[in-house]
């Protein structure tokens, strides 16, 4: 009996989630790593002085922690599959290959989202809302945009990262350089998306006049990029698994 695509997808999702619930390896390692990056930010900004307005670069810092954490997570999630021979077992199982891609991308997105939910509030509290008003500044300090906008921009970024990242990580685990190769392939592919997301995030976090317009424009471009890239990754994933 042919199992429906949705049930195959659910079974694969369940496999990854059950494994994560037992080992708690992905979320803890990604979360801890993200925390450590925040500590490094704290050190890096410790000498910036009172007059420095951190919100001006907050979007870039936030994106940086997401990108680094996601690269760690992507690599780990595929190394798992590879080391224990799971990928081969999956290929032997009567599962459609595109479904393997979507299941893997979904779990990567899920774990990244969990880590973001933990880490982003921390980031916003320490670096944005806690930012000292520059002394003697005549400009009224602008208010950040609503939190759901930050979440939306990060979600668009994370969808792209998980989609293309899954394809590239599947390639890089079979190479000699593994995580290095992932970084080399991942960062140029993600570059346009990162640029767009940092503009959207920056618009929200600084809350300058007319920020909503920039935000929606950037989100639209980002979503378009996600759609194109995921379609391409989906079409090419089968070739990667074949060899």
């Amino acid at each position: 009996m042919k199992v429906s695509a949705f049930r195959q997808y659910r079974a694969l999702l369940r496999k990854d989630i059950v494994m994560e619930l037992r080992t708690k390896e992905m979320v803890t390692s990604m979360g801890l790593y993200a925390m450590l990056v925040l500590i490094i930010y704290y050190v890096a900004l410790s000498q910036a002085g009172q007059a420095f307005d951190v919100t001006r670069i907050a979007a870039g810092l936030l994106l940086l922690v997401v990108v680094f954490t996601s690269m760690l997570g992507l690599n780990r999630s595929l190394v798992h599959e590879q080391d224990q021979g799971q990928l081969e077992a999956l290929l032997l199982a009567p599962v459609d290959r595109p479904i393997i891609f979507f299941a893997k991308a979904t779990t990567n997105l899920l774990f990244l989202a969990i880590v973001e939910v933990i880490i982003v509030p921390f980031f916003l509290i320490f670096f944005v809302s806690g930012a000292v008003v520059p002394t003697g500044s005549t400009v009224a300090v602008s208010q950040s945009g609503p939190a759901w906008m930050t979440a939306l921009a990060l979600l668009i970024g994370s969808i792209g990262i998980a989609g293309v990242g899954t394809l590239l990580a599947t390639m890089s685990v079979n190479t000699k350089g593994r995580d290095f190769i992932l970084a080399v392939l991942f960062i140029p592919v993600m570059f346009p998306l990162l640029l767009v997301i940092v503009s959207a995030l920056s618009a929200v976090l600084t809350g300058d006049a007319g920020y909503a317009q920039t935000f929606w424009k950037m989100c639209a471009i980002g979503a378009g990029y996600d759609a194109i890239m995921i379609a391409v990754a989906f079409a090419l994933y089968e070739f990667i698994l074949g060899v």
Binding site: K176, I181, I187, P188, P192
Partner: protein, 275 residues
């Protein structure tokens, strides 16, 4: 791994490939040289006016005559140097040639994934090699142009490269091509290497149309040549340079293909002699 498909066609086809490539290289070289000479002799320097720069800007170009200087003393007005116009006859054609060979590489990557013939992988790889050469050429001429036309100094250049849309996407294209070779060198199994390289070429190629059309879509400092209007004396060498450089780009690619396939043919012939 010798390409048996290529060898079956024999020495004759390699010879023909080589002849076409050499003819293209010669014609392309002559046209490019002619355009070079015309650019420096017959082409009229169109005046785009002057450019204002803050007083502290570091540039080798002469300031405009005293009568043209801003009266409030806020900055220095420089003559827009003529070099920016001469370099442009090469910068644009080299960039076009880089897009051409990159597209060839992507087409052969798709063909490889569909037909799994080893010669397609070789062609795709050679396409990427040629892209690397032309991308670096575009960057060098681009830096010269930027220095001359925007009066950008070296410290501003890095900033410009990642903030100006066309420059940023093109820089990423160079990073893609370098990453391609890093990827190739880190996969040992030949079949897997070919498949991964083809997949990555296709993903990387998406950047090419983005880079090409981005100056038409978002506000950018990068000029769009055909919208700015040109004098006939400028247009003729420009078109000749474009045709010549595209031919040269294809010729370099075809020469390398002929070289690789003659090597494969030789390997097969050797094996036949021994066996």
């Amino acid at each position: 791994m010798p390409d048996t498909d290529g060898a079956a066609k024999g020495v004759g086809s390699v010879k023909r490939q080589l002849q076409v490539a050499i003819i293209l290289a010669i014609v392309g070289g002559v046209l490019t040289t002619a355009a070079f000479l015309m650019a420096f002799t017959t082409a009229r320097v169109q005046t785009f006016g002057t450019i204002d720069a803050p007083a502290a800007v570091e540039t080798t170009y002469p300031p405009a005559p005293a009568a043209m200087q801003p009266t409030d003393g806020t900055g220095v007005r420089y003559q827009r140097p003529w070099l920016s116009q001469k370099i442009f006859y090469f910068h644009v054609p080299i960039a076009e040639a880089s897009f051409l060979v990159f597209t060839l590489a992507a087409i052969f990557a798709v063909l490889f994934l569909v037909k799994r013939k080893q010669s397609y992988d070789t062609r795709s790889r050679i396409g990427m090699e040629t892209t690397l050469v032309f991308t670096i050429g575009t960057m060098i001429t681009g830096v010269m142009w930027t220095r001359a036309s925007w009066l950008t100094n070296w410290s501003q250049l890095g900033r410009e490269m990642l903030s100006e849309p066309r420059l940023a996407t093109y820089t990423i294209m160079l990073v893609f091509v370098i990453a391609y070779f890093v990827l190739r060198n880190s996969v040992e199994d030949p079949e897997r290497r070919a498949v991964y390289s083809a997949v990555f070429t296709i993903i990387a190629w998406i950047d090419a149309p983005i880079s090409f059309f981005i100056t038409r879509m978002v506000p950018s400092n990068h000029p769009i040549v055909f919208q700015s209007g040109m004098d006939t004396t400028n247009l003729i060498p420009f078109i000749i340079a474009q045709i010549g450089m595209l031919m040269l780009g294809y010729a370099i690619y075809a020469l390398r293909v002929a070289e690789e396939s003659s090597r494969d043919t030789l390997t097969v012939l050797k094996e036949q002699l021994e066996g």
